[in-house]
């Protein structure tokens, strides 16, 4: 059963940066995009041993530092090879200045 997990304070999540967290054993990165918060899987599905949060935020995309596969921050959708699978997207909420991700 998916549950809400507290992963950060709201002020830790900044525009243009990826914030890596772990919740229920899943590697996740939280992003702020035009004010709203998003959480997507943080491991590139291409080789499975790289954190996307070590990569490069380019507008509404995160680019993998290894081979530049890009993923939509809002949806986790893969935008180009070599990765061929999306990363999961997780629901996010803010309560009393704390960020929660449902995993």
């Amino acid at each position: 059963m998916a549950e809400w997990h507290r992963v950060a304070s709201e002020d830790e999540i900044k525009e243009g940066e990826a914030f890596p967290v772990t919740a229920a054993g899943a590697a996740i990165a939280v992003y702020r995009l035009e004010g709203a918060l998003y959480a997507i899987g943080n491991i590139c599905p291409h080789q499975g041993d790289v954190l996307l949060s070590d990569g490069f935020v380019d507008g509404d995309k995160i680019e993998c530092p290894m081979h530049q596969s890009c993923f939509e921050i809002r949806t986790g959708k893969v935008l180009g090879p070599p990765a061929q699978q999306d990363v999961p997207a997780y629901p996010v909420k803010v309560e009393d200045g704390a960020v929660f991700v449902r995993v």
């Binding site: 070590d54 490069f56 680019e63 993998c64 530092p65 290894m66 081979h67 530049q68 090879p81 070599p82």
Partner: protein, 416 residues
């Protein structure tokens, strides 16, 4: 002070009676070996790379060779076959070290540069640096750093590649006589891969090419042939040089009744060589599947020998490694619509070939005897006068016309 004369590089000259002599230094000179690769393998020639049935679906690949250069034969997302240089565009590591497999993209083991199935550079680690430091210059263009793609032609399931964009078409390169006979073995029927053998021969690659153009040795060295009546000196035979000696055809005819009159074959044994028998005579009992009662072997220079021994169909890919070392890669195949009996026959008769084949083992052994002699006597010459001194086609096994024709071609191209 006395002037010191520069060291003279030894000038090599083809011996007199050039058409019927071969100097031994052509098998041992490393500089000549490099020049052969440039002239033939990397020049305007088509090299055999593999079979389409070896790479059945998108991402299936086979590692192969053009000359001494490793290439990757891979089926891309569109279903087309690509032949890519197996050399990372970054620092030149071999990208793919497996002989066969399936990948969605290729990643170099050294720095993990990653390429798609058409050889385009998809990505490289830390393009934009790490922690804000390092990384490639901003103007680094990934599109300019892909793998080199060779020009490819496929015909009836056989994949060929060339480095030369200006080379004539495959059909022109093979010429009408070879093309017709390649199509006999590869008529467009779906192929079925039966298996591989690989071996390293301790000899110069030309020794192997000559061996496949030398019918004179066939009944002498290969006692298995004569013992079991597959090939005898009185067999109707054709030795046909083509395309100015570049390629060559050897065709022999066996009795139409071979299959139905097994007893006659075995009766002949007594007169040929004692009373040798096989427990399973199907190994030496071909069926006339092409309707021409022929065993046809094609030497397609510089990369391949197509062989039909009875019902065993084999490709010998001849891969030069260095001046005194040659890899021989055997691919055995049949047709997808072969019935069980034909499949069994092909598998059994494949025992004649390969590194330990009843027949082919003799060639590896004798060529291993030739290389050290060439190295020890580089200025010695060999005699190739069997069957006369010209290069015309002949209807006998007792001829070296195919070897003479080849060296006429070779000397012209190499300027020797």
């Amino acid at each position: 002070m006395t002037a010191v004369a520069p060291a003279q590089t030894q000038e090599r000259r083809w011996p007199e009676k050039a058409a019927v002599r071969i100097p031994a230094w052509i098998y041992t000179d490393p500089e000549l070996f490099e020049r052969e690769l440039q002239t033939f393998h990397y020049g305007p020639a088509w090299s055999y790379v593999g079979l389409e049935c070896e790479v059945p679906s998108s991402g299936s690949f086979k590692r192969s060779w053009v000359g001494r250069r490793s290439v990757i034969m891979v089926r891309d997302e569109t279903g087309a076959i690509q032949v890519l240089e197996n050399r990372c565009a970054h620092r030149g590591s071999m990208l793919c070290w497996k002989n066969k497999g399936k990948e969605s993209s290729f990643t170099c083991p050294y720095h993990h540069w990653n390429y798609d199935l058409r050889g385009n550079l998809l990505g490289l680690p830390f393009l934009r640096g790490a922690m804000g430091k390092g990384g490639m210059p901003r103007d680094f263009d990934k599109q300019k750093h892909g793998l080199r793609r060779l020009r490819v032609e496929t015909r009836n399931g056989v994949v060929w590649a060339t480095y030369d964009e200006a080379a004539p078409t495959l059909e022109t390169f093979l010429g009408p006589e070879i093309m017709k006979l390649v199509d006999r073995s590869f008529p467009g029927r779906q192929l079925r891969l039966l298996g591989y053998n690989r071996q390293l021969l301790p000899c110069n690659w030309k020794f192997y090419f000559e061996n496949s153009r030398d019918p004179y040795h066939a009944t002498l060295l290969h006692s298995f042939f004569t013992t079991f009546g597959l090939l005898r000196t009185d067999t109707p035979f054709k030795a046909v040089p083509t395309e100015g000696g570049r390629h060559g055809i050897m065709a022999s005819t066996y009795s139409r009744d071979t299959a139905s009159k097994q007893n006659e074959v075995t009766k002949q044994l007594a007169s040929l060589k004692s009373d040798f028998r096989l427990n399973d005579m199907e190994v030496v009992t071909p069926v006339d599947e092409f309707g021409d009662s022929s065993m046809i072997n094609l030497s397609v220079f510089p990369s391949v020998f197509f062989q039909q021994h009875g019902n065993s169909l084999a490709i010998r890919h001849i891969i030069p490694k260095d001046v005194s070392s040659t890899e021989l890669s055997w691919t055995f195949f049949g047709y997808a619509d072969d019935d069980d009996a034909m499949h069994r026959r092909r598998m059994k008769q494949a025992n004649l070939l390969g590194p330990a084949g009843h027949v082919a083992v003799d060639d590896s052994e004798v060529l291993a005897l030739m290389q050290p002699v060439a190295a020890g006597f580089p200025d010695s010459t060999q005699v190739i006068e069997m069957g006369g001194r010209d290069t015309a086609p002949q209807e006998t096994m007792v001829t070296e016309t195919l070897i003479r024709a080849f060296y006429q071609f070779y000397r012209e191209k190499m300027g020797l």
